[in-house]
Subunit: 472 residues, 2 copies
C-alpha cells in the first residue's frame, strides 16, 4: 500500500497538523544522539531485516487475509518476535468478511480467439459473462457514459500508470480499480476489465480490492496484465470484439485474524509508546515480499536491534504486524478503535508499507514545539541519505491512518518506489526482488527514528481529535 | 530457438565448410551494390517488419503446432504474403505428433504449504504425482545419481542460466530440459521439476520440448519460474519437502500444418533460390513475438521491400514460414526432405529466429571462391553496425539446419540476444517486447543480404552432401 495516497482518502476527515496547545520544547538528550549514531552504523552491517523478510516469504508464503497462510503468518509473527528478544508479545483479534479466489480465465472470442491473462479484483463476485468490449481510456470517460448505455457490455479501461519515485499514478490506477466496477455495473455492464494498476510490462496482473456501492448489483471484475490490456486495445481498434470472462471467487462469510504485537519496554516511561510496523497479510498471488514482508522485516529488525542495546530508551517501542490491510485496513481500524482513549500515550507512529527501496525522505506531523527534536531526528537520518520532505502529500502509513485521524502524531520515512508498482499485488512480489543493501538502510533508518523518538523529552503532539468523518 | 547451438547438434553430421571443388570467383555487380545501399536506407525508414509482427501476434496470437491458432497462422501467412506483393505463394504439408496442454499446477505440501508457478514441458505426459524433492544443481550430478536411487522421488534441478549476448547458457539449460526428465525417469523418479531455462527473475515459467528415451516410462515434467525455483531451493535447504505435481497434458494423435512459402521471382535466374525465413508456430503461453513472429516480420518485410524495387535481382528470393519448429524442426526437416535434390539450386539460406535484437555479426559458410562476394555483403551490412564474426560456433538457423546438413550454404546474421532468454517460451513473449528501431535494423540487414545474394554471379557452394547421420 502507498503511504502518501492513503492520506488523500483520509485528508478530508483528519486534522493533518492540528493546532496543538503550547507544549514545552521537545528535545532529544545528547547521549541518545550519540547512541543513535552507533546504532545506525551497526544496523548498516546487519542482515536481520533481510532475513526476517526471507523467513516470512519462504516459510509462510502467500497469506491472504483469512486464509490458512494468514493463520500461519500469525503464528510466525509471534514466534519471530519472541526469538528476536521482544519483551512482550501478544495478539488482538480482527474480524472481517472473507474473500476467496478459486479460478479465473478470460478469452477473446471469434476470429482472433485467444486467452487473456488476468486476475479477479478482490471483492469481485464470481460468474461467467460474455459481451462486447467497450473501451474507455480513464475513469472520467466511464463516469461520463450515459446511464444504461453499457447494458450487456463488458467495460474495459486501459489507463496506463507511469513509473514515478513516489508512485503518484497509483492515485489514478487505484481509483479505476476501486470505483470502475461499481460505476460500470450501475450503467448496466455485465463485466469489468481494466489494465492492471501497475507499471510493469510483464504478463503479471495486479489484484487489489474493489467495492460496489449499495444498491448496485456486483459484476465480475478483473485486471488484465499490461501486455494483455495492450493486446485487447489493439484488437478493439480493429473492430468489435467479444470477450468471455469466467471468475470463480467471492465473499464467503467472516474470518478472524490477528494484529500481532511485540514490545521493547521503555526503561523509564514504559507507558509512552512509539509505534512502528507493517502489515502481516498479503495478496494471494505473490509471497508478499515488498507488500509487506519487507515492512515487517524492517520494523521487527529495528525493534530487535534496539532491544539488544546496552540501555533501553525511555519509552516503549511497539512493533505491530497489522491484520488484513489489503482488503480495507481492518487491522489498523481495529487498533485505532481499541486504543482510541490512549492516543495521548502513543507518542508517534511510522509504518513501512511501500516496499524495500531506499528511504530518501523524512516528513512528520510534529508541532512547532517539537521542532528541535524533529531536526535532531533528521540530523541522525541524514548520513543515510535522507532529507526532509516538505509535508504536502506526505502522511501516515495506511494502517496508522485511522489512528492518525484520531490525533496520533506520525512520521513518514519515504521510500523510493520507482519499481514498487511493477510488483505490487502481482505473482511477482517475491523475495528475490528485495535488495539486501536497500532493506538494510531502511532498517537503520527505522531503528534510528524509533530509538530517538523513544528517547525524547516531551510530547510529539498526539492528542485526541474527533474525526470529521467516521473512521472506516 | 538458438542459432548457434543448433549447430552443436548438427555439427557431427554435417560438413560445415566442405572442401568445395574449385569454382570461378563469385562477385556482386557494382550496380547491385549501389541498389543495396539505397535499399538499406529505405528499409531504415520502414516499419513494415514491426507491423507484420504486430499483425501475427495480435490477430492470430498463440499458435502452438497443431492448434486452432496454428491453422489460423497458416491462413494469415498466405494472405500476408499476397498482400505484400509476393509473386507466388503456396503451402506444403507437414505432419507431426500433436501435444496439448490443458492444466498444470503444483504445490509444496506440509507446514510450508504454498503453490508453485510452473508449466509443463512440451512432450510431458499428464498425471498427478507426489513425492519428496531431491535437488540437483546441474545435469551432470543428476546423471551421476545411482540407478534406482530416485525411486518415488521428484527430481528438482535448479541450474540458473546467466544473461549473455549470444545466449550461451542455453546450451546447459536446454539440455537440462531435454535430457533431465528421461534421466530422472530412468532412475525411478515419479516427477521432474527444473528451474526454467531462462534468464529472467519473473514468475514466468519457460516451456520447451523434452523427449523420453525408448524404454523409459515418461513422467510428468515441468519448469518452475525462477522465483519459484529459488523458493523451493530455500525450502529444501531447510529440510525435506514434499511436492504435489498435477499436469493435464500429453500427446494426442497427429496433426498436419504447413510450411507457407512466398517467392519474389528472380529476373534472370529464377530457378536459383536465396532462402530466408523464420518459423510460423509458437509455444502456447505467449503470442510468439520474439519467437518467432519477429523472424517472420523481418524476412517477410525484407522480401516485400525487394519486390517493390524498380528491378528484381537475378535470383529468386524465397521466404519460408516453417511449420512446427518448436517441437522438433518438423517444417525444416520436411523442407529438406522435399528439396533434397535441389540443394544446388538453393544458393544460400539465412533464418531469423533469435528475437528482434539488433544484428551485430555476420558469418557464413561461403567457400574461398566466394570470398569477394562475402566481403561485399559484409561491406553493405557494415553501416548497420554489423561486423564479421569468426565462424567458430556460428551456424545456420534451426529450420535450415537439416538442409544445411545436406550441403546448403548458409549465412548467419547474429542478433543481440541479451534479453532473449528472459522471454523465450514464456507467457511474456508478447508484441510489446519488440523494439521498433531494432527490428527495422534487422529487416534492413536481411533485405541487403537477400538482395545481394540474389544478385551475385556464381555459386555460393551449395551442393549435395550425404549427411553422416540421418537428419531428424
Amino acid at each position: 500500500m502507498r503511504i502518501r495516497l492513503i492520506v488523500a482518502a483520509l485528508a478530508l476527515g483528519m486534522a493533518m497538523t492540528p493546532a496543538f496547545a503550547a507544549n514545552k520544547p521537545v528535545r532529544i538528550p545528547d547521549a541518545a544522539m550519540t547512541q543513535a549514531a552507533t546504532l545506525r552504523e551497526q544496523a548498516l552491517t546487519s542482515d536481520l531485516a533481510y532475513r526476517i523478510t526471507e523467513s516470512i516469504t519462504t516459510e509462510v508464503g502467500p497469506r491472504m487475509a483469512g486464509s490458512e497462510g494468514d493463520a500461519r503468518a500469525v503464528a510466525w509473527a509471534q514466534a519471530k518476535f519472541k526469538s528476536l528478544g521482544y519483551d512482550r508479545v501478544w495478539t488482538e483479534p480482527v474480524t472481517f468478511p472473507k474473500w476467496e479466489r478459486r479460478s479465473e480465465r478470460a478469452e477473446v472470442l471469434g476470429r482472433h480467439a485467444q486467452p487473456l491473462v488476468l486476475t479477479a479484483l478482490g471483492g469481485s463476485p464470481g460468474g461467467t459473462v460474455e459481451g462486447e468490449v467497450v473501451r474507455f481510456t480513464d475513469l472520467a470517460s466511464l463516469e461520463a457514459a450515459p446511464a444504461g448505455s453499457l447494458a450487456g457490455k463488458i467495460v474495459f479501461v486501459d489507463f496506463k500508470m507511469e513509473r514515478k519515485r513516489g508512485g503518484d499514478d497509483y492515485g489514478f490506477g487505484s481509483r479505476i480499480r476501486s470505483r470502475g466496477p461499481t460505476t460500470a455495473a450501475a450503467k448496466g455492464a455485465v463485466g469489468y476489465l481494466m489494465q492492471s494498476a501497475g507499471t510493469d510490462s510483464h504478463r503479471m496482473p495486479h489484484t487489489g480490492i474493489t467495492r460496489f456501492d449499495e444498491g448496485v448489483k456486483p459484476i465480475p471484475a478483473a485486471a488484465l496484465s499490461a501486455p494483455d490490456s495492450r493486446q485487447l486495445s489493439r484488437l478493439v481498434a480493429m473492430g468489435p470484439q467479444r470477450v468471455r470472462l469466467a471468475l470463480d471467487c467471492g465473499w464467503d462469510g467472516e474470518a478472524t485474524s490477528y494484529n500481532v504485537i511485540g514490545e521493547v519496554r521503555g526503561s523509564s516511561k514504559p507507558d509512552e509508546v512509539v509505534l512502528i510496523g507493517g502489515h502481516l497479510d498479503s495478496w494471494d498471488l505473490g509471497t508478499g515480499a515488498i507488500d509487506d514482508g519487507a515492512g515487517l522485516g524492517i520494523t521487527m529488525a529495528a525493534g530487535a536491534m534496539i532491544a539488544k542495546l546496552p540501555k533501553r530508551p525511555a519509552r516503549t517501542i511497539r512493533v505491530v504486524a497489522f491484520a488484513n490491510e489489503e482488503q480495507g485496513l481492518y487491522g489498523g481500524r481495529a487498533y485505532a478503535a481499541k486504543y482510541e482513549k490512549d492516543v495521548g500515550k502513543h507518542q508517534i507512529a511510522a509504518e513501512s508499507d511501500f516496499g524495500a527501496g531506499r528511504i530518501y525522505g523524512y516528513a512528520s506531523s510534529l508541532p512547532e514545539s517539537a521542532r528541535e527534536a524533529d531536526e535532531q531526528i533528521l540530523q541522525a537520518l541524514a548520513p543515510l541519505g535522507i532529507q526532509r520532505l516538505e509535508g504536502r502529500g506526505e502522511g501516515p502509513g495506511p494502517d496508522i491512518g485511522p489512528f492518525a485521524q484520531r490525533g496520533l502524531a506520525w512520521a513518514s520515512l519515504a521510500q523510493d518506489g520507482t519499481d514498487y508498482f511493477d510488483l505490487h499485488h502481482t505473482p511477482d512480489d517475491t523475495f528475490d526482488k528485495v535488495d539486501p543493501a536497500a532493506i538494510q538502510q531502511n532498517a537503520a533508518a527505522y531503528a534510528v527514528f524509533a530509538y530517538l523518538a523513544a528517547s525524547a523529552d516531551g510530547s510529539f503532539g498526539s492528542r485526541p481529535v474527533a474525526p470529521a468523518t467516521p473512521a472506516r
